[in-house]
Structures are given as C-alpha cells and as structure tokens.
C-alpha cells in the first residue's frame, strides 16, 4: 500500500510540473502573454480565444486539478500535521483553485485583471499541490504514517 501511494504521489507531482510547463508553452509565462492569448491583442494581430474553446480548456483543466486536489488532500490529511497547517493548506488550495476558472470566465467583463487573477490562482494551486505532495512523500519515505 505504501509503495502505491508513493508512486501515486510521484506521478501527481510530475503531473503538476508538466501541467505548469504545458500552460507556459500554450499561454506564456507573463501576465501580458496570458492576456494576449485569452483576450487577444490587436497590435500583434492575435485573435481572442473563442468562448467555447475557453470553456473547454477550463472544464478539462478543472477536472484534472480537482482529482489531483482530492488525492493529495486525502493523503496529506493523514500526515498528522497541525490543525492550523491543514486548515491553511486546504483553504489556500481551494481559494486558488476557485480563482483560476472564475478569473478566466469573467475576463471578458473585467479584462486583463481577470486573466492575471487566474494566472496567480493557477500558479499558487500548483505550487501548493507540489509542496503538499512532497511533504507527504517525505513522510511516507521516512515511514512517518
């Protein structure tokens, strides 16, 4: 059982790193590049993303990210960390994960601020999942739980 969870955590951490890399290639790494991809840029002749494509992208991303969150949170909760750390981890993860789709969906109304919020949420969520995964992985390797 221990080796299955170790394998799963390693795969999920790798998936998070790959997800960040894929987004960096597709959308760019700076807020300006994200805004140009989602909202378009007349000066550079970049068309905005269609609403259907945006919906499809968010829906697909969110499905994978919710599953990742459930799996990592389920293991991390058994790690035996203090209540404050667990509350902080769960709350921050959920808030950042909520910010990503909401920022994207409202970007057509609030402009680039929505895209920047979304970018922030996306990066924070991935970093938290990588940290939570690594913390549980180290605990498992040391046979702490």
């Amino acid at each position: 059982m221990r080796s299955i969870v170790i394998g799963m955590l390693l795969s999920l951490i790798l998936a998070m790193v790959l997800s960040l890399s894929a987004k960096a290639i597709d959308y760019g790494v700076s807020p300006n590049e994200w805004s140009a991809t989602v909202l378009g840029n007349e000066a550079e002749f970049i068309d905005p993303m269609s609403f259907n494509d945006l919906l499809l992208g968010i829906h697909t991303d969110l499905f994978g990210l919710i599953i990742t969150f459930i799996l990592i949170a389920s293991v991390t909760a058994r790690r035996g960390r203090s209540r404050v750390v667990m509350i902080g981890f769960l709350t921050l993860s959920l808030l950042s994960l909520l910010t990503y789709p909401i920022g994207m969906l409202f970007s057509s109304m609030i402009g680039s601020s929505g895209v920047i919020l979304s970018l922030g949420g996306f990066i924070v969520f991935h970093l938290l999942m990588i940290m939570g995964g690594l913390d549980s992985l180290i605990g498992l390797l040391r046979k702490k739980f």
Partner: protein, 143 residues
C-alpha cells in the same frame, strides 16, 4: 477544527464542484443543445469516426479517473459498504449509458437522446455527490 472554518472549506469545495458541473453542462448545451431534438441532430450528423474521436478519450480517461476517485471512497471506513456499492454501480451505469447513447443515436434509435441527457445530468450529479462524500470524510480526519 473550528466549525466556521470547516463550513467555509466545505462551501469552497462545493462551489468548486458545482462550478465544474455547470461548466460541463454549459459546454454541452453550447456544443450539442438542450433538448432531445438537438441531441439527435448533433449526433445524427456525426460519422462513426467522429463519434469515436469523442468517445475513446472520454472512456479511457473517465474510467481511470473513476477508478482513482472510487478507490479512495473504498478506503474510507466511516462510510458504510452499502453507500459505497450504490455510488460505484450508479457512477459506472450512468457513465456507460452516457458514453454509449450517441452510438445508438447514430444507428437511428432516437429514443437514446433522452437517455443521453438523463445519463449526462445524472453522472454529473452522482460524481459531485461522491466528491463531496470523500471530501467530507477527509475533513473529519483533520478535526
């Protein structure tokens, strides 16, 4: 865990899964339509190859995702086995109906448009229920 924080975390998670289901429903409505007539039109025009391009990745990835989610449900000892069995049978039945209905629609069985809509909505709701069930029991561990 402080009750208000517990409520907040549960609310945030519920909002997330409801948002995900709404996005799926919105996407389905925009691409396919809302009524059995729209569903028949959409799938009736598709070739078998076009249909397989949609069904194949969905069948592969959703079955893996279901296995991952349901195996966590199986590990939770505070949920009785009857509820677990119900969740497993319900999710897989709705999943198969949802994925296979378009095939029957292209074969001319228009009645499957209604089954497709019911299975799609039912699958979304059942998955939300299982996600919330797992998360609720996980929160109990942090008390």
């Amino acid at each position: 865990m402080n009750f208000k924080i517990l409520q907040f975390v549960t609310l945030a998670f519920s909002t997330l899964v409801i948002l995900q289901a709404s996005l799926g429903a919105l996407l389905f409505t925009r691409l396919v339509g809302f009524t059995p007539h729209d569903v028949n039109l959409y799938y009736g025009d598709k070739s078998l190859h076009g249909l397989l391009e949609v069904i194949l990745p969905h069948t592969l990835f959703i079955s893996i995702a279901l296995m991952a989610v349901l195996h966590f449900l199986a590990f939770i000892q505070t949920i009785d086995s009857r509820t677990k069995k119900r969740a497993i049978y319900l999710l897989f039945t709705l999943f198969f109906l949802d994925q296979l209905s378009p095939l029957f629609i292209t074969l001319g069985l228009e009645f499957f448009a209604v089954i497709k809509i019911i299975a799609f909505v039912g699958f979304q709701i059942a998955l939300l229920w299982v996600w919330i069930l797992i998360f609720r029991e996980t929160l109990k561990l942090t008390k």
